[in-house]
């Protein structure tokens, strides 16, 4: 074999090994990003529309607020956008307050003060076929979103 061909074949050989090595590292990295999560589903049903009082109801298990206005509903997250503490609703002053670092939000989730960088997100809420409300915490909707619930009695 002449030298250039030998060199080329050497290069191919080393290159192949190197590429394979890189691919293995990439595979290890990809394995560390889970495809299935043992976490509660982001899309879940809550109660029927007529089981919610007017105004703001705190759902402690799901960490969100269900707000009812006559027959329209919207859902606001109760997780402070600063560092993840659960905010509290102050009915007297109509605002959300976070106990951890003092973030304050208006009734629609926009920030009044404190270190919170973003407003409280509104989650998509739809009505499932069986009539119950269904929340998707993986889908954020713009403020002003409202669901008109059917068969909701006052």
């Amino acid at each position: 074999m002449n030298t250039t061909r030998r060199r080329f074949l050497e290069f191919l050989g080393k290159g192949a090994v190197f590429a394979a090595f890189l691919a293995q590292i990439a595979a290890a990295g990809r394995a560390l990003l889970p495809n299935v999560l043992y976490e509660p589903s982001k899309r879940f049903k809550i109660k029927r529309p007529d089981e919610y009082a007017q105004g703001y109801t705190f759902d402690a298990n799901n960490r969100l607020f269900v707000i009812r206005n006559e027959n329209t509903f919207h859902v606001i997250s109760a997780i402070c956008t600063h560092l993840g503490c659960t905010v509290q609703w102050r009915g007297q002053s109509q605002e959300f307050a976070c106990p951890c670092h003092g973030s304050l939000y208006r009734a629609d989730g926009t920030v009044i003060g404190g270190p919170a960088p973003r407003p409280l997100p509104w989650f998509e809420v739809t009505q499932a076929p069986d009539g119950r409300l269904e929340v998707d915490t993986g889908t954020i909707v713009p403020e002003g979103f409202a669901l008109n619930a059917k068969k909701a009695t006052a």
């Binding site: 889970p34 976490e39 600063h82 270190p115």
Partner: protein
Amino acid sequence: MRDQFLKLWEKLTWSWAPRSERESGEAIVQNLWLHWFPAKVARRSMSWNYSLYFGVAAASLFLILTVTGLLLMLFYVPATSEAYGDMKDLQFAVSFGWLLRNQHRWAAHGMVLVVYLHMARVFFTGAYRGQRFLNWIIGVILLMATLLLSFTGYLLPWDQLALWAVTVGTNIAREGPVVGDTIRYLLLGGTEIGQNALLRFYVLHVFILPVSVWIMFGYHMWRVRKDGGMAAIEPLKFARKAEPKQPSATKSYSLFGLTRGATVQVLSSTELEEKDLAFSSPDLTRRIVVVFLLVFNVTLLLSLLSNAPLEEAANPALTPNPAKAPWYFLWLQELVASTTIGIGSYRISGGLIGGIIVPGLLLGVLAVWPLFDRSPRSCEGVWFAPERRWQNITFAAITVVIILLIAVGLGIRGPYWRLYWPGQPWPQMPRVL
């Protein structure tokens, strides 16, 4: 029979207590543990006043952590259903469990502090110049590894303190631009702090990080030898008027063939005078044992006096009030809580500014500082050299600010993140009964 025992004892321990200069030299070459020391070391390098033995203290603490950590692993299962109960068992049911855990925790706090003090010492003595720059970088990496070890260990008890300290920390990670969310996803193995996160932090804490630290520690020590010894010898070399003898081209050590040079013994023996040198065994080894014993005693004493805290079982639905990061991160939390900037209607998160940008900048500046140190080489190995005054003052000032922020976070921040001066009682937090 007694003779045989004495002979065996002699065989095992002679290198630790050499009786002649020849034995001192032989000890280094024949004993595995001692072989990483040079046969002779400069008296100045060994002096208490020079290094204050912070590095040795840090290594001692790491050894204590490794051993107590290994023992703790026998009592702990990294499962969210088991972890808290195991901590309670260690607290009440395991013989000496309280001692194991307390000592582990005090050594961990101590190590963060001592590693920082060691770094401060290296900075104030200008011991990062020239060829020692690489070792400085390794030291910075070791500092980060120490903090990461502490952070990953913090989650393992799976109590309220653990869960929320890590919530704060990982939410800061999310604020990183572009890759922030992916990094958090990788770290937690999901979107929430749950079983996956606990397992990953556990593996990081008991294997990946400690092994990395031991390897880097070895390299850190090897670099000291390669650099000719500690920077304390530089003023001695500087003072010598005579021409240094040429080093003989005998063996050279290298790491993957990346560095070159003659052996350190050859170099230092040609550059330092006999009166400046002492035998590593027994002089240096004795001092190291003394430091280790002192450090161990301090951790023991603290373990006897003060118990490691354990709060209620982790409850993702209830945020404790106040939710605080571990003390060495409190200054960061203070920054994060107060650096959210609003520009018009656009808000830049404090998590990004105080949590990523500021510490990132500090770390970066710390790492490359030696490159910008323009003071004369005579400042190396000298405490508070006058030509480096402004550098030392800057370092000290930043340290003081960090200490102040930590003090505020520790003693003055109370529920709802309000400030309570010392002596002012905290409001009674509501209970059930």
